[in-house]
Amino acid sequence: MSDITKQSLTELVENIKNKNLSSTDITKAFIERSEKSKELNVYITDDFTSALDKAKKFDQKPNLDLKLPGIPMAVKDLFCTKDVKTTAGSKILNNFVPTYESTVTENIWNEGAILLGKLNCDEFAMGSSNETSFFGNVQNPIDKNLVPGGSSGGSASALAGQLTPITIGTDTGGSIRQPASFTGTVGLKPTYGSCSRYGIVAFASSLDQAGPMAQNVKDCALLQEIISTYDPKDSTSIDFKRNQYSKKLNNNIKGKKIGIPKEYRVDGMPKEIEDLWQKGIQYVKECGAKTIDISLPHTSYALPTYYIVAPAEASSNLARYDGVKYGFRAKGENLIDMYEKTRSEGFGAEVQRRIMIGTYVLSSGYYDAYYLKAQKVRKLIKNDFDEAYKKVDAILTPSTPSSAFKIGEKTDDPVSMYLNDIFTVPVNLAGLPGISIPAGHDSKGYPLGLQIIGKAFDEQNILNIAFAMEEKINFKNKITDWWIE
């Protein structure tokens, strides 16, 4: 079967259960395609040999009751994987091999999936274009020299390029939804506390969430129901009743009230984005939902707030990378000299920039003016959503203010890079679930995404809305395989 890699997760699972395909067939197909796709630079570490072994083992004694029976998949290199190198896209972890497994990946392997390898990402997930990775840029399969978005750029690219049937990313300020939007795929950032953070290299603890990325909403729902578990090893994991999201997936959204926040109509937003948004409004109406104009008055403060909170937490979370216990160490004359050289040579420019910002906003004399202020504004942003959800069931916005841009286009201007996340960041600040689905193309033929934001723990609702819209949109990704050797 030559088109194995084109199949959705649901199709692959079906074919394995019907014995049309073996795990080995599928694993081989993705490995072969991956081998021909070196130019995309999605893998930091591949684990193909052991993946094939595992596939063979699975086929010898297949357990077809599992949700991901013998399905190979690659994951973002921010998830610690036992005995497989985990780098977080950084030189400072270049040689780090965990002896433990993250809860999210553990959940996936427990359902029968097989690890293909570790996917490229922005260094410590700090970036919106995958250009901060120590392991080089990732190509977007949509077009040559186009960024795949970030920080889960390798994940989005591998998924859109059909090198993995599904994948997982992490989203701190839009790192799943923005690359999904840039690559014409589906990405969900779950409610904060839905997926365990145990074993995921931390960026900003109060914002980080792992989430599924897939070719369609159904696959996304299935993966979400696998990775979302209560985990006593994470003090911020929330013990709530989780749905069987894929089973309960339902395209009937009649009567749902969808909020359209006026503040998301930002200055300088391309007309194409506005048009896409209008189209989205049309679609949900056609599905029988009502749209209601709402206000999220503090939206424009979200990004400045985020650029205090996230770097502050990161500056502390990344203090453990000091050359003592693991990872890269530079030679130093004494302890302090070793620290300073290790961290200066081991971290890339963007990570250093954010550590500096974070250190500054927490330092004595500036804490109140920046960090405390940001926490207060974060409260206002959360209040905006609480207020809105008194009137609506979900909120519809564009996922990004533009389509994917060229590699190198924004690297010299951090602020313009940060503006990429303007529509996704408020969702992280408020801890809400948000999903990006592909909804159209711009004039260059690049995909554009729409975001549906839900109430906390209401993943099912936004998955249902996305599912209904997906049917109407009938999006087809334009992939030409230009990179295949």
Binding site: C80, A319, S363
Partner: protein
């Protein structure tokens, strides 16, 4: 200000200085596992064998708090008569050090679990109240070992993440003696509560000592210096003594005192500046985003309150009221929980017809002397409370004399022997048969006729001679009262 002879002042030319001391005591919480991880806390394990992925700050590792440590902190707070805060927050204190794997210490900064409280010290010239500013929970750091290798420092993380209670006093202490008394009192309270073993040799209890001086009578505080991590009462006293004098000398020379962190060099008996810590003094505290605020209910606190054992101050009061001990005796007996336990067991075992005074004297006299000589804790006493009680009763009921009791006690030391048996086996029972004593005395009078005549003619001093002879003849076993009575009759 107290006006008493015990006042600790530093005299220079025309000036008298008073010393102001505040303590930050770090007390290791007694618990099986660490504050945020499930590693063991045992002392003396092989290096890095009690270290989990969380303790060594591996990527993606997260803290999960130990409920028991929270209870221990609250219990200690209750023991310090302090306010328990129903909402407290864990913060990160950020700094780099080899034995701090996370690059931050999880501590409590703005909202500690325990607020203001107080402890009462029994000083020779009366009681003194010392205010407690707060008590908070935090992680201990690992251990840097500098002397195993000339080029390198070795790091052992066994202690990393162990729960500590930092107990911060108000600057209410005024002398090395008060500091000693304060530490002993804290230790005593925590040992009663079972929240800290107070073992200073193993580092379970250590303190940062804040010292400043001021002209006696002045209301303002002087500039203080913090002497870090002193781990014995003696060293604390020596460090204070040295530091206070150093500060006074500076003032006398017209120089100013730098507010700084200092180290006590136990070999040279001096404090010196720790410059290495100086340039990283901005700790950038912020709430740990891996943890939520700790919220505890009234019920949670009340359940702990209802199970607080009798604490030293209450026990002392009861010993005075119930057992009619002197305040001095009571203070000694309650100062350590094991001593108090021993004493109460002796009391219980003595039964109804007990001689409290005698028991107290034997414990604080003979027993303490033995423990002191053999360098033993009372919990390791070679004589059990039960056997000591029997011994005291044997004296009380006249079976043996106090003198013989000392012999018996010596014999008891070897294997905690039953004194009753020793008395029987060695035939040490007091001679109480009047006829036998009469016979004995008759013989002595007969043998010492001249002396008997001298006595009768008024030389009353000789009575003692006869008593001594009678005792000697009975091998020390004759009942002294009977000897007296019979001698008086016969002479």
């Amino acid at each position: 200000m107290s006006k008493n002879s015990a006042e600790y002042l530093i005299n220079r030319k025309d000036n008298q200085y008073e010393v102001v001391i505040g303590l930050e005591v770090h007390a290791q919480v007694l618990s099986e596992s660490k504050l945020f991880s499930t590693s063991a806390t045992k002392f003396g394990a092989e290096p890095n064998t009690q270290v989990s992925l969380v303790d060594a700050a591996f990527p993606g590792m997260l803290p999960v708090i130990n409920e028991f440590c929270i209870k221990q902190a609250i219990k200690t707070g209750i023991g310090l008569n302090a306010k328990i805060n129903k909402r407290s927050v864990f913060d990160r204190k950020n700094y780099f050090y080899a034995d701090l794997p996370q690059g931050y210490q999880i501590s409590q900064f703005k909202d500690p679990i325990v607020g203001e409280g107080k402890v009462i010290l029994d000083m020779p010239d009366g009681q003194k109240e010392v205010g407690i500013e707060r008590l908070h929970l935090e992680q201990d750091a690992g251990k840097s070992i500098h002397d195993l290798d000339p080029q390198n420092t070795f790091v052992d993380l066994n202690r990393s993440g162990v729960a500590l209670m930092e107990i911060v006093s108000k600057p209410d202490l005024r002398s090395p003696d008060e500091v000693s008394s304060y530490i002993k009192k804290l230790r005593s309270i925590m040992r009663y509560l079972g929240t800290c073993d107070g073992n200073m040799q193993e580092g379970s209890l250590r303190a940062d000592v804040n010292v400043s001086v001021r002209i006696k009578g002045s209301k303002e505080f002087g500039t203080r210096c913090e002497i870090k991590n002193v781990n014995s009462i003696k060293f604390m006293q020596m460090a204070i003594e040295y530091e206070a004098n150093r500060q006074v000398d500076l003032i006398e020379e017209g120089k100013s005192i730098d507010q700084e962190t200092r180290l006590f060099d136990t070999k040279k008996n001096e404090t010196r500046s720790m410059r290495s810590k100086e340039d990283a003094h901005d700790y950038r505290y912020f709430p740990d985003p891996d943890l939520l605020p700790l919220e505890i209910s009234d019920k949670f606190i009340n359940d702990l309150k209802n199970n607080i054992p009798e604490l030293p101050d209450d026990k002392k009061k009861r010993f005075i009221d119930e057992f009619k001990l002197s305040p001095y005796e009571a203070t000694i007996l309650v100062s350590d929980i094991d001593t108090a336990k021993y004493f109460e067991e002796v009391v219980a075992k003595m039964g109804k017809n007990r001689d409290m005074k005698l028991a107290v004297n034997w414990i604080t006299g003979e027993l303490f002397a033995v423990l002191n000589n053999k360098n033993l804790e009372i919990s390791q006493s070679p004589v059990s409370a039960k056997n000591l009680a029997i011994l005291v009763n044997l004296i009380k009921n006249g079976t043996i004399s106090g003198k013989i009791a000392k012999t018996v006690f010596e014999l008891m030391l070897d294997g905690d022997k039953d004194p009753q048996k020793i008395v029987e086996e060695k035939g040490l029972k007091q001679q109480r048969d009047p006829k036998a004593i009469e016979a004995l005395i008759d013989k002595i009078i007969n043998d010492n006729r001249e002396k008997a005549i001298e006595y009768k003619s008024g030389k009353e001093k000789l009575f003692g001679f006869f008593v001594g002879q009678a005792m000697k003849a009975s091998g020390g076993k004759a009942n002294p009262q009977l000897i007296n009575e019979i001698l008086k009759k016969k002479l």
